[in-house]
Symmetry: D2
Subunit: 351 residues, 4 copies
Amino acid sequence: MIIITRQGVTDSELDHIRERVEILGMRTHISRGEHQTVIGCIGDDTLIQEVSLLSLPGVQQVVPVMKPYKLAAREFVAEPTVVRVGDVHGASIGGRELAVIAGPCSVEGREMLLASAEAVRSAGASLLRGGAYKPRSSPYAFQGLGVTALKLLAEVRAETGLPVVTEVMDTRQVEVVAEHADVLQIGARNMQNFSLLSEVGRIQRPVLLKRGLSATIKELLMAAEYIMAQGNRDVILCERGIRTYETATRNTFDVAAIPVLKQETHLPVIVDPSHAGGRADLVAPLSYAAIAAGADGLIIEVHPAPETALSDGDQSLAPAAFAALMKSLPPFAAAVGRTLDPQTLEVEVAA
Amino acid sequence: MIIITRQGVTDSELDHIRERVEILGMRTHISRGEHQTVIGCIGDDTLIQEVSLLSLPGVQQVVPVMKPYKLAAREFVAEPTVVRVGDVHGASIGGRELAVIAGPCSVEGREMLLASAEAVRSAGASLLRGGAYKPRSSPYAFQGLGVTALKLLAEVRAETGLPVVTEVMDTRQVEVVAEHADVLQIGARNMQNFSLLSEVGRIQRPVLLKRGLSATIKELLMAAEYIMAQGNRDVILCERGIRTYETATRNTFDVAAIPVLKQETHLPVIVDPSHAGGRADLVAPLSYAAIAAGADGLIIEVHPAPETALSDGDQSLAPAAFAALMKSLPPFAAAVGRTLDPQTLEVEVAA
Amino acid sequence: MIIITRQGVTDSELDHIRERVEILGMRTHISRGEHQTVIGCIGDDTLIQEVSLLSLPGVQQVVPVMKPYKLAAREFVAEPTVVRVGDVHGASIGGRELAVIAGPCSVEGREMLLASAEAVRSAGASLLRGGAYKPRSSPYAFQGLGVTALKLLAEVRAETGLPVVTEVMDTRQVEVVAEHADVLQIGARNMQNFSLLSEVGRIQRPVLLKRGLSATIKELLMAAEYIMAQGNRDVILCERGIRTYETATRNTFDVAAIPVLKQETHLPVIVDPSHAGGRADLVAPLSYAAIAAGADGLIIEVHPAPETALSDGDQSLAPAAFAALMKSLPPFAAAVGRTLDPQTLEVEVAA
Amino acid sequence: MIIITRQGVTDSELDHIRERVEILGMRTHISRGEHQTVIGCIGDDTLIQEVSLLSLPGVQQVVPVMKPYKLAAREFVAEPTVVRVGDVHGASIGGRELAVIAGPCSVEGREMLLASAEAVRSAGASLLRGGAYKPRSSPYAFQGLGVTALKLLAEVRAETGLPVVTEVMDTRQVEVVAEHADVLQIGARNMQNFSLLSEVGRIQRPVLLKRGLSATIKELLMAAEYIMAQGNRDVILCERGIRTYETATRNTFDVAAIPVLKQETHLPVIVDPSHAGGRADLVAPLSYAAIAAGADGLIIEVHPAPETALSDGDQSLAPAAFAALMKSLPPFAAAVGRTLDPQTLEVEVAA
C-alpha cells in the first residue's frame, strides 16, 4: 500500500500517518519529493484495509498494491483448477474439454424435465441444469417447485447419467440442495449474499458462481474468495452479462471478462449466453464468441417448448436449435485448442 | 397488455396468439391496421407475464400496460404511508416531520456505541443506526459483532430512548434481529435476496429497504412488493446511490428517484448521503439536495472518531460535523413545508 | 507521477524505466521496499503522459499525482470566477445571485420566441435560451432555423433586454453565432468535439459547456481546459444528467457533481433540470435539489405551448408552470445563502 | 405508432389526441378496452415524432412501431453491403473475406509510418490506419501532425499499395482528408457530431463510423442514417467498446452488438479490439471473439515500438505480436465460413 500525501503536508501530519500505519502492524518507508511525499507501507495490509486512512490530515490518495483476493488468485495456484463434478457419472470443468451445461430454466414437472435431459444429453451436453428455487423479480411469478423439483432432478440424473446443477437461494436450503444436486449455483442476484457464500463454502460440492448484475471482475473474485475461505475450493465462475445503458440486449455480455479472469485466477470460467443476450437468436453467436475468447464451458437454457415455458421462454432454445448449436461448436473449440467430445479426449490422452 | 404483431402476420398466427392469451384467462381485442395488427389483452395479466409471448410466431413486441406492483402502488393507497417505529419511545417516518437516523456503520463496542448514540440524539437525530452483521466485500474484513452488537443496541436504546435500525443479512437472523431492533434494514446487496425479503415480510417490524447497487426504481418497488405480499406493510425505501461509470463519487446519488418514487408509491422514501457520495465532505450538500427533492428523511453515518472506524471511515461524520449538519437542515426542510423538530410539530398539531 | 514496479523487477528493468522517465525531462527517486519498489517522478509530467510507461518491462501500475487540468483548477484561481454576460443589459453567472436561463428548446418563429422571452423575463429569468442549430438524433427531424433564428434571437434581445444563449455545433458556425449571441453553448454531444472547443476558445464570448452524455467530471474539466487553453477564460459548466441503466428518467441527474465541481474548479456550475429528468413534472424538484447542492444557476426549457413544440415538448414547462417554479425558488436560494433577485442583491451590495 | 391512454380518459381527451395525430397526416384507429383504450396511428410517423404526444391530457404511453432509420435498415437493402475501398489497389469490407485494417494510432513521422505499413502488409493486413488529427482528452497532449501526416499516408500508400484509413474531426478538414485518404474515420467522440456526419455524407469516400462511448446500437444506426441521407451509402460500422462501470478494461467490448447489428442493418460491421480492451494482451482474445460473433473485419493498432508511442502505447501491438495474431486468425474465420486470404478467395471464386 502506498500513501500519497497532499502538497504541504506537515511533519507532524506525516508522523501521525506513520504512527497509525505502524500500529496496524506494517512498516513504513517515507520518500520525500519536491512536490509530494509518498509513504510506502510494507507488510500484511489486511487490517489496514479496514480503517480510514483517507480521513487522516495530510493524506491525498491511498493506492493498494496487493490484490485483495488470495485463494482465488493465479499467483496462489499455478495450474488451472479442474473441478470434478458428480460421482458415478462424472464430468469436469476447466480441463481441455469444454463443458456444456443445458436444461430448462425451471423444473416444471417430471415429463418436461426428462424430455429436456434426454434432448440435451443426446445433443452432447455433459451436465443438466434446472431450477428448483427461482429468484423472480415479482412475488406473484412462478417461484419454482422447490424440494419436489430437487427430487425430480435426482431421479432424472439416475435415468440419464447427467450430473445436476441447480440454484440455491437461502442458507436454509443449502443442505437439502447439496443432498440432491451435484453443483450448487449461486445466482447473479445473490453474488454478494455473503451469508449464502459462506454457507456453500462449508460443504463439499462444487459451486457455480454467477457474476452479479453490476459486479466488477474484482468483486466476482472476492465472492469466490468468500466461498474458498471456508474451505470449498471447487468454484466455477460464470459470466452472464452485466447491466449497462444498452437495451437492445437483456444484459451486455462482457466477453473480455473471460481473458481477464483467466489472467487473474486459476478457477474455471464458463459463460451463460442465454442470460447474457436474453434472446434465443443470440445464443449461438455469443456461444461462439465465448469459446473463442477462452471460456471453459457454457450453460444454456433449453426447453422442450419455449413458448410455454413458465420462465425465460424468450431466451430458451428448443431441442432442435440446441442440437444444431452443439453441432456447430467443434470448429470454434478446435481453433482454441479445445474439444467438446469426451471420447476424442480420452483417445488422445491414451495415445 | 398489448401485443404488436409483425408486418405480414398470417391469420393462423393471429389465431394461435389469441388462443394462447385466452387460455391464460384474458380476453382479446384485435385491431387490424394497414401496416400492423395489434392485439389488446384484457384481464388479469399476472399469469401471462410468466410465459413467453415473444417466441410465438408473428409477435413483434409485447407492451405491458399495468404496473407489476400493486400493494406498493400509489393507486392502491391514496394517503402517504407513515411508518410508526418503536414502542415507548416512538418515531415516525413519512409524515410532515423529517426523520434523521444516525449512528456508526458498525457497532464496535459498548463505549463507542453509547458515545455515538448520545452524540446523535443531542444533535437531534430520532433513530440510531448501527451494524451488527456487516456485508463486507472481503471475507477477511471485520464482519460485525453479531448478537453481541444486537444486545448492545438494545441496551443503548434503553439508555437513550432512540429506536434502533440494524441490518439483517440472513433468513436465519431475522428472528433474533427482530427481537432486539425496531427497524430491520435490508442492505443494497440483498435487495433482490427474495428469500430474505419474504422472511422479513412475515414479521411485524418496519423494514428499511435499500435500493440495490444497480437496481431500477421499478425493481426497488418490486422488492417492496415482495415484503408487502407477505403481510408486512411497513416498508421504508432508501435511495443510496447507484453504480455508474463515474468514479469521482463512490456511487451516483440518483436524486430524481425521490420525486419519481413519490409519484409511484405511497411508501416513505429516505436517503443515505453517506453511501451515495462515499465522502464525508459530500454528506451535507447531498442531504440538502435530498430534502429539497422531497425525501422523508436521512440515514447518516456518524462515528466518534472516523479515522479509527473499522468500516466506512471515509464517509462517516464526526459528532461535531453531524451537529453542524443538523443545525443547517431546518431552512431546507422549511422550503419544502417540512420540519425537523418533533416539538414544533406537536405544537402545530395541537394548535 | 508514481510508478509502482512488479514484484521481482530487475535492476536493468529499473534502469531502463528510470532512463525513459529522465529523457522526458523528469527527475526520479527510487524507493525500494521488501515487496515492491516505487519510482517517484518529479517535474513537469505533461510530456510523460503521452508515452506508454505501462508497456515497459517491470512496470505494474502508474499513478498520476498531479491533476491533468491547470487553468480550470481551483488551485490556479483562488476566487470563484464570475462570468459577465452581455453588454448593455448585463447578467452574471457565478456570483451570489443565482442565474436562471430560460426559453424554448428551438426557435420556431418570431412570435413564439417573443412570447417565450416575455414570459420568462416577467417570471424573473435573467437570460434567454433558444436553439438555432439543433443536434437531433434523426436526420429527418427538425434541425433548427439556423441564421434566421440567430437574427430573431438578436431582435428579441433588443426588445426584452435579455442576453441570449444559443448552441453552436460546427466550427464554421462559431463566427456567426458569436456575432448574434451573448453566450455560446456547447451541447452534450459535442463536449469532446475538440476542434469546436478550441474554436470557441479563440473568441471573446462566454461559453456554456454541457457535460457529455457519459462524461466523467474529470473529462468535463478537461473540455473546459481545451477552451481556456486558447485564451477564453469565461466558461460556465453545466450538469445535465448522465447516461445510466435507469430508464425511469431520460438521464440520471448527478447532483453530487455540483459540490465535487465546486471543490475542483473555480468556474461557475449550473444545472439543466429539463434534460436531466426529461419530464416536465421533475423540473421543480430537480431545480430545488440543484440549488440546495450549491449550483450557481439553472437553464430551463419553457415553451408557450409544450404540446406543439417541435422538439423536447415532453420536458418543457408552459409559462404558468415556469412562473410558479420561479416563485418557489427563493427559500431554497436563501437556505444556501444565495438570492434570485438582482434588485435585492444590489441593495445589499450598496448597503 | 400506438398511443396507450390513461385509465378514465374522457371522450373529449380522446377527440383531442385523435385530432392532433390526424393534423400531422396520419390516420387513427381507436380500440376501446375495459381498462384501457388504445389509438393505433397509421401512416408516415416522421412528423409526429417531433411533437410531444406525452404532454397531451389522457396519454399514458407512446409506443413507436416503425424503426427510425430507413436507409440503414436491413429491410431497405436485402443484400449485405460490400464497401469497395481504394482505386488501383482495392480492398473490400463486408464480403466473405474478412478485412484487417492495421497501423499506428498516430502518424509520428515518415520512417515509423513506412515501417508500420510494411509490417502490417507483410503480416496480411489489407488496409493501413494512421491518425493525422488526434482527438486527445488533454489540450496539452500530442494532437497529430495534420496535413503533414496526410501527405505521408498518401506517400506510404503509393509505396505499399495499402489503402489508407484516417480520422476526420472537423467539417473544415473533410475536403483535405478526402483528397489524401481512402476511408474517412469518424471517431467515437464525434459519433453524434451531426454537422460532421452530414459533411462526410456529401463526399464520395467510404466512411468508417465508430460507435460512441455510450451510444446505443440504435443511435449508431441513426448516425449512419445521417451520412446516408446525404447520399453517401458506403458506411462501415465499428464496435469499439462502450463505457460501463467496469474498470478492469478500458471499455466494455459489446460483442453482442455484432449479431444485433447484422440483423438490423445491411452495412458491414468491424471491431476495434485495441480500444475495446485498451490492453495489448487482450487484442488477440477479443479479435477471436469478434470474428466468432460474425464481424466483417478488425481494426488494430500496431506500432513499431509501442513503448515509445506518442499515443495509445498501452494497447498497441508490436509488429511481431501482430504477425502472430494474423497467423492465428484463419481457424476462427473458417469456423464462421469466412476467409482472410484474398488469394484463396479468388481461387475459390474462379473455381
